[in-house]
Amino acid sequence: MTPQDTQMTVPSVEKYKSLKAVMPIVVFLVPAVFFLVVFLLYPLISSFQLSLLDWNGLGTGERFVGMANWLRLAQDRLFWKALGNNLELAFFSVLFQMPIALLLAVVLDEASKGSRILKILYFLPLLMSSVALGVVFKNIYDPNFGPINGFLSAIHLDVLARDWLGDPRLALGSVIAVVCWQNIPFYMVLFLAGLSSFPRELGEAARLDGASETTIFWRIKLPHLQGTVRTAVMLAVVGSMRYFDLIFIMTDGGPDGASELMATYMFRTVFSSFQLGYGSTVASAMFLIVTLVAAVTMRLTRRYETEI
């Protein structure tokens, strides 16, 4: 065997070996990469491309307009109003869902009897589709035949009866109430898991030292839950920034934009006004805002988690 021969064979064996090693990696990853590129990455990029067009989405009349849509967005009062509503949804979601969920988790943690069956029933709203819930609560809020106004008139409080979804001052609040109603059990189960991981000895040691139950809750149990609460806040905030379903079904952003969110505004711009280019601008802006909010809240929550 001449030196030249070995030089010829060694690389080819290596090549064959590396091919054999690479083959499974490729085979295992190709299906996932295919779906993610076609249905997630490509739409993401395409959305930014479409945001530079003036196009109704139907024919071939698309026109490149550069940054015109983005300039329009910067001055679009409706979009900023929608963003404001997203922030309002985030704020009230945190304000109402966290304390109520925490209270219910404490209730379930303390109630030994029946807590399992209560937990199971409390969780039911999370199984419902948003269309089902939206349609149900549209009927519950109905000003004429709805049970809320019916109940108010039965106890002679007709003065409090309102057009819950039709009044611009009330529409967003009415929908937020339903969003909270559906999501509170989720955070409740989360906090309950946190509470049940609380080491019993810690509470007993504090009790021996003369701490009252109230002190134990505020000073020991709640700090123990801190990480869980921060995770919950992050989920609620990010979820609110991209929220769509119940608002779309119950009010479609109305009346007169009173309950409009970024996502419902994007949807109407594209599928009702047929401004596909501008709708894509709204979608792209929404992506940037959600990513920014997610990055900020994640960093905040992570930093605090390590502090504990």
Partner: protein, 288 residues
């Protein structure tokens, strides 16, 4: 000094325990009412006739058990929506399970340079708000001729489920002991054999989390189904509520009957496996 503290706190403790004994059940039952009243309202109304809802209060019991609404809805195309939902769900979940477990195995066990960056990129995909992919996917679906078929939904459903599923399964597979893998290799298994005979069977709990979390999400999915299909013959159950709402206009009992019927499959499943479903949904949402 110390005695005053102890006595003070012990009275506080006993005072609280009385308060707690009253407050806990009251709060527990109050939230039970808040949770269940809408469900009771829906069920009761679905058993009424249309005239009855106009003249009686929303909280009155139905005058007689009236199953006409149920018969009307069941004979009015409900089964087509159900069949489409089952078809889309089964096909999507099978694809999600197969594709994400394969990818998870590669990320958990195979060594290659792009392992970490690619995994990080896929996990970052969880942040993408799915609604912003709606417009390009709508255009894509029209261009490849899948618009208004049940197949239109498979691509977006699988893709949106993959990041969280791959994340859950990768975490799970990383914990499978290396020794099992080596033993299988000694027995003559190749990479595919190890995946098929060792990792897949041992990932049962992870796979069930992925199936439950995505299954419930996709069963209830509305907006892609609404945008990518238009004919009732190809639409899924959440759209049944939407379509019937247009069809029945102000017939509230009929609409709430559709709500009851479309929600029933999941509630029945929940009755059989509450713990698993709660756990699956929590795990999925926390990772997402």
């Amino acid at each position: 000094m110390s005695s005053t503290i102890t006595s003070g706190s012990s009275t506080a403790a006993s005072g609280r325990s009385l308060l707690v004994r009253v407050l806990i059940p009251v709060l527990g039952l109050f939230w039970l009412a808040v949770t269940t009243l809408p469900f009771i309202f829906v069920t009761m109304t679905s058993l009424k006739s249309q005239q009855e809802t106009f003249v009686t209060s929303g909280w009155s019991l139905p005058q007689s058990l009236n199953f006409e609404n149920y018969l009307a809805v069941l004979n009015g195309g409900f089964w087509t929506y159900l069949r489409n939902s089952v078809f889309v769900l089964v096909l999507s979940i099978v694809l999600i399970i197969v594709i994400s477990s394969m990818a998870a195995y590669a990320f958990a066990r195979l060594r290659f340079r792009l392992n970490k960056p690619l995994f990080g990129l896929i996990v970052a995909g969880m942040i993408v708000p799915i609604h912003i992919t709606l417009i390009p996917i709508y255009l894509l679906t029209r261009n490849i001729g899948l618009y208004d078929t049940p197949f239109a939904l498979i691509g977006p459903y699988v893709a949106t489920a993959l990041p969280v599923s791959i994340f859950i399964l990768t975490e799970f597979m990383r914990q499978i002991p290396k020794e099992l893998e080596e033993a299988a290799k000694l027995d003559g298994c190749g990479t595919f054999g190890v995946f098929w005979k060792v990792f897949l069977p041992l990932s049962g709990p992870g796979l069930s989390t992925v199936a439950i979390y995505n299954g419930i999400g996709l069963w209830n999915e509305f907006i892609f189904a609404y945008v990518l299909t238009s004919t009732p013959a190809y639409r899924t159950l959440p759209l049944a509520i939407w379509d019937f709402q247009g069809q029945y206009a102000s017939n509230i009992p009929a609409i709430l009957t559709v709500v009851t019927l479309t929600s029933l499959p999941l509630i029945v499943a929940y009755a059989f496996g509450q713990e698993r479903i709660v756990k699956g949904m929590m795990a999925g949402a926390l990772k997402g």
